[in-house]
Symmetry: C2
Subunit: 363 residues, 2 copies
Amino acid sequence: MEPVRPKASAAPGFGRMTCLCSPEGNPVAVKLVDVARQAGVSPSTVSYVLSGNRPISEETRRRVEQAIADLGFKPHAGARSIRRQATNVIAMVLPMLEDGQRAVQMQFVFAVLAAARAQGRNLLLATAEDGVAEIHNLVDSAMVDGVIAMEIQVHDPRVPVLKELNRPAVLIGTPEDPEQLVHVDFDFAAAGAMCVRHLHDLGHRHIGWLGQSADTYAREAGYALRARDGALSAMAECGLPRVWSPMTATPAGAAEAIEDVFGQDPELTGLVVYNEQALPFVLSRLREIGREVPGRMSILAICPDDLAEHMVPAVSDVALPADELGRLAFERLAALIDGRAQPVSTLLEPRLNRRGSAGPPPR
Amino acid sequence: MEPVRPKASAAPGFGRMTCLCSPEGNPVAVKLVDVARQAGVSPSTVSYVLSGNRPISEETRRRVEQAIADLGFKPHAGARSIRRQATNVIAMVLPMLEDGQRAVQMQFVFAVLAAARAQGRNLLLATAEDGVAEIHNLVDSAMVDGVIAMEIQVHDPRVPVLKELNRPAVLIGTPEDPEQLVHVDFDFAAAGAMCVRHLHDLGHRHIGWLGQSADTYAREAGYALRARDGALSAMAECGLPRVWSPMTATPAGAAEAIEDVFGQDPELTGLVVYNEQALPFVLSRLREIGREVPGRMSILAICPDDLAEHMVPAVSDVALPADELGRLAFERLAALIDGRAQPVSTLLEPRLNRRGSAGPPPR
DNA sequence: TTGAAAGCGTTACCAT
DNA sequence: ATGGTAACGCTTTCAA
């Protein structure tokens, strides 16, 4: 029984297009059999040269590699993914955030992207807004080998989905019940406590916390809650009153929050600010009300280093290590995909950068 | 000749994993033939129900859809991409930018992502740092149906690559020689000119331009060059001297740039600021040197609306319509993928939001 | 309106 | 060390 239809490689439709041109003049995809023919070997040999799964003689390898280069052959990713169990693509699930968080978010994405590309893996973006169904789709249709979910909230609907996934998943952030899901996070509680203790060590006995917007707490963003509670616990342990206020990132919001904490403790001499967007407004406001930094008010911030560095005066800060977290999340995921067990929980420790915005309290 | 090895679906290895469980208890991928069997139809019928490429009786369709739902079947994307000419995935090529640009960049990514997801397409991220070879890889290995490249520079090495691609590509930004590549951009020249003319209309005859960092101009970033040159041309057309300075986004940088433009024209009464990061520092500095806004100095900014709105005083601005540009870029690409010809060039017109930071010059 | 079967491009098993 | 060939899971032509 001879095949009735023309051999595919003789007139191969209009698939991928690379170097070769058909007699008609339109560009045409180069495939593995074309390479095999050109090199005078069998298709399986070409495949083995590509995968390195079998010893190949030096001479044959040379001829095959030459043919690949000459024809500009690139293996078809889809075809490959049928036989291999992997696509070399991972997904990253982003929440749709308010404008203020975009810069941080991009930092995470870049960190993961850079780490993935360094290993030759590709990164697909998904949004949480698609609903958790989208995560299932990407995995069940075998588009991705694993998933990184970022901005995990305390009660996050994505967590149970990822748990049931049958594909590796890594969380950036800490849910209330991780259920054995591998996750990496910054130790926000330690960061908050570290700031309070630093002021306490300098001699401050009246310390306040200026946090994120009220609705950030309302939606139970893990980082906001944990940082604040770490700070409040440290205050309590130091025998200080727990003074704090949420803060909207506007000049008026900063003024209001400052008034709020002064209302709670009129003798405040130290403030910890965990609100990147509002930090400049806090400094302006303190200047306005005659509390110059650090002479009459000591300030610490949890914010990116470059932001803290450019304030006037430069602000001592604890920075979220987003690059490191992103890289670490990818490494965990890559390891899981390769079948290597990973620690369920990893917390990165905070580090304080002194820039002179915090000194001893005024006598 | 009976097949020697067991039928695949009888003991189908360990492929994708969904609802079904093998006798051994491990989860197993549901495939199209499983659906066909469950519905009592042939595989081709299931395929046609999925694709809608052939009329199906109501009764059959119902049974097939029921089986798909019952088994939780999701078509294997890779297998599908072999026969179809498409993967339903597009790539977005990002440059690795300095920190300051991250927020804007994320806005573009989100806009494209949202538009793509709304059409059921997925977004793959690539970085320019991989080198242009990576673009070729993604396309030649048939991983993506098309490419969006953002932050196109005046002389951009990606442009010739995209031109040779044999797959649709859309640029966000305008290269010197678009070579018929479809591109969308904000009319930065018009934006710059609009700001200058607005001040001129208010009666200002001494206007300066405070721009991006010197190295942004050095690497010939299209947006920086075009905005500045649009402004300088407008100054010339209004018969004014062309006064401008690059500006580093630090308090010192802002002070220096302000000194620079005052050196060029000591009678300046209006300033246009195209430097999102430095805008707060410019306002602080003007306050410091006794040029309060808008009484003794009128200010216009090219920056995001929410930033301008939160300055003290709120700053009249022209905003980069990143969301619209991202959405538009995706729509152009989707249309090209679907074979519909698109306009080569699209420029979005600037719009000025008045917030009261610009008034008549002091008499 | 439906089914059978021949691909799609790559991989891996079985031979030699 | 290499080749032949049957999968992989889905699509589409051809036939009924």
